[in-house]
């Protein structure tokens, strides 16, 4: 009996050992793989830490000091004076904030719907659809310098296409698209739309290709007209894409920078917060404390949509 039990114990032990040995033998990862995996996790984490978190924390800290950027001993505490400067003294800040909001509204109300419309039109299997897609997507790929040249050709006061078409080119009545502080923000927004619509179009085209054709058939059988079909069936099905588009639109309007920068460096009616950050942080005119404070303000503003987006995503998952 006891011997019997013992042998049974031994047997189970043996099988246990056997299975452990087996597991080791058939493990998907060998030692080298594990090292590679660890490196691959460690490096992005390190990069994330070095390039994202440490600079973020540093700029928050720097926004509370005065520093000329020379020796560390020159750093002096400044309390909230940098923020005071931004909110109370600096005349460009509030216009910049308004322009960012206008930018967001314009992209959301005009540019994104245009992109959606283009996507729907190009999804109709019309001839040359690929060519049109490429044409509308080109602005997204162009470099800053090229965009500057292209829009200069359109808007230039003395020899621009628009003034030529209006018949005012070279006359005193020529419309000053870039210089007039009431007009130039709209000129810049049109240029931004030109880019943003192409971006949205590509994303929606991908989304439309992914819509199950049987849904369209079913809706058509139920007697839905094309408008109903689109708004009641297709758009709701593309919900994941819609969320991406909303996020992209918000982010694009917050980091909008390049177009105003090439027009006039983000001054004279084209102030945007990101352009102000660059003015204060990059180059000779650097004032580290104020630039960091502006960057922190931009960060806080950006956190609002990010937090809303994340909290919605997590709520759905739970």
């Amino acid at each position: 009996m006891t011997a019997d039990v013992r042998t049974r114990e031994q047997a189970t032990k043996a099988t246990g050992q056997g299975s452990r040995r087996l597991r080791r033998r058939y493990s998907l990862l060998n030692r080298r793989d594990k090292i590679v995996l660890a490196t691959m996790v460690a490096i992005p984490t390190l990069i994330q830490l070095v390039l994202v978190w440490i600079p973020t924390v540093l700029s928050v800290l720097l926004s509370f000091v005065r520093w000329n950027g020379l020796a560390f001993s020159d750093i002096r505490p400044a309390g909230v004076s940098n923020y005071q400067y931004i909110f109370q003294t600096y005349p460009s800040f509030w216009p910049a904030l308004q322009h960012n909001l206008l930018w967001l509204a314009f992209l959301a109300v005009v540019a994104t719907p245009i992109g959606l419309l283009l996507a729907v039109l190009l999804d109709q299997n019309i001839r040359g659809s690929r060519i049109y897609q490429s044409i509308f997507f080109t602005p997204v790929m162009l470099s800053l310098v090229l965009i500057g040249v292209i829009w200069q050709l359109f808007y230039s006061q003395n020899n621009g296409l628009l003034n030529f078409l209006l018949g005012t080119s070279g006359t005193p009545q020529a419309v000053d698209w870039f210089g007039n502080p009431h007009l130039n923000i709209w000129a810049a927004l049109i240029a931004a739309t030109w880019r943003h619509a192409g971006y949205v179009m590509i994303l929606y085209l991908a989304g439309l290709k992914g819509v199950d054709p049987s849904l369209r058939e079913a809706a058509a059988l139920d007697g839905a007209n094309s408008v109903q079909l689109f708004f009641r069936v297709i758009l709701p099905v593309m919900r994941p894409i819609n969320i991406v588009i909303v996020v992209i639109t918000i982010i694009e309007s917050l980091r909008a920078f390049d177009i105003v920068y090439i027009i006039n460096g983000g001054k004279n009616g084209l102030e945007l917060i990101s352009a102000l950050v660059i003015q204060f942080l990059v180059g000779e005119a650097q004032v580290i404390g104020i630039g960091s404070a502006l960057a922190v303000v931009l960060l806080v503003i950006s956190l609002v949509p990010i937090i809303i987006y994340l909290s919605r995503t997590f709520k759905k998952e739970s």
């Binding site: 080298r32 590679v36 490196t39 691959m40 490096i43 005065r66 520093w67 000329n68 950027g69 020379l70 020796a71 400044a78 004076s81 940098n82 400067y85 003294t89 600096y90 005349p91 460009s92 006061q157 003395n158 005193p172 020529a174 000053d176 698209w177 870039f178 210089g179 007039n180 502080p181 130039n184 006039n264 460096g265 001054k267 004279n268 003015q279 204060f280 990059v282 180059g283 000779e284 005119a285 650097q286 004032v287 580290i288 404390g289 104020i290």
Partner: protein
Amino acid sequence: MSNENLSAFSHATGGTMTRRALVSGAVGLGTLAALAACTGTATGGATASKTLTFGSGSSDDVPKRAYAAVVDAFNKKSGDKVTTNTVAHNDFQNNINTYLQGSPDDVFTWFAGYRMRFYAAKDLVAPIDDVWKKIGGQFGAGLAGASTGDDGKKYFVPNYNYPWGFFYRKSVWQAKGYNVPTKFDDLVALAKQMKTDGLTPIAFADKDGWPAMGTFDYINMRTNGYKFHMDLTAHKESWDQKKVKDVFDNWKQLLPYQSPDALGLTWQEGAQALGAGKAGMYLLGSFVTQQFTDPAVLADIDFFPFPEIAVEGTDSVEAPIDGLMLTKKGGDNQAARDFLAFMGTAAGQEAYFSVDKSNLMTVKNADTSAYSDFNKKLAGVISNAKHISQFFDRDALPAMANNVMIPALQGFLKDGTVDTANLEAQAKALYAAQ
């Protein structure tokens, strides 16, 4: 350095692209970059050696070759070896803080003005009074003053400069019978006459923001004097005072005669208006002549200094000076001091001018036989000046110039108003951070 990195990268991506290859490639890249960075910092320049290093921000083709000619001439004369490190112009200017604090070259290209004095006060550059003992006799009072730091020592050797003033077409003025104004009131009257004659009296182009500073500088110097202008730009004077308001009040008399859409125009477009005879005159630096490619137009261009307003006549001229400075590290290197001294002689400046003819030499005894009559006239204006200002963005804190003054002046051009109390509040915050 970039070559090594590139080859390492192509090695990692060229073969079969595995995760491991990529990881090891990335590690290799990092090591290589670190190694390259190490070798990059090891620049020469031991104490009292007969070699020196020269950091140049003159990266455009013509100035680059011009400085190479200076280096050659110096080498021929002294036998000292100069190693030149040229960096792209904007990068050089933007990274000067890190450059001067890291391991800079012995000698570097820079310009007179606020930042020159700022680095002198921060002890990042070496005084060169001994050099000035040798070369001082060849420079006028204006140039000598512009080369002096706040402590009264010399820190800078001028190479070349170019004046700002009014440019106009002789033929247009002759046809209409205009005379060069010497008083501000004459200038306003002339502008009024030009307007009735159907011209844009004063071409004005301020899309980029900086050209308007030239007008501010001149009106301020003519209204309140050179010293006040310098103290204001260094923020030793308050912006919120009557003297500053007076400047803008004077300017307001000219506003109706400036190009109406100035905020949408580049200085090149302003120059074209002048060249085409549509504008009567144009206040800009003498680089405006670069825009006149037609030799007939170029020969037709003349210059007059900004007319006098209240004080000091036309003693002050705005003429940004470019030249050389000695870093703290180069301060111990006698060869570097010799090189600076050479730049302050006729031989050095002629070597530079032999390649780059777009600017004026600053030493008195330079051979000006290659100058055109027009150049001679410009040079005369500078050498007769009692005071030389450097242009607002060089005389003031760069942040003040770019982030405060440009928007303020553009606002003034729009509606003729300036909030001097706000200017002072902003100046206080920005200068306090230095």
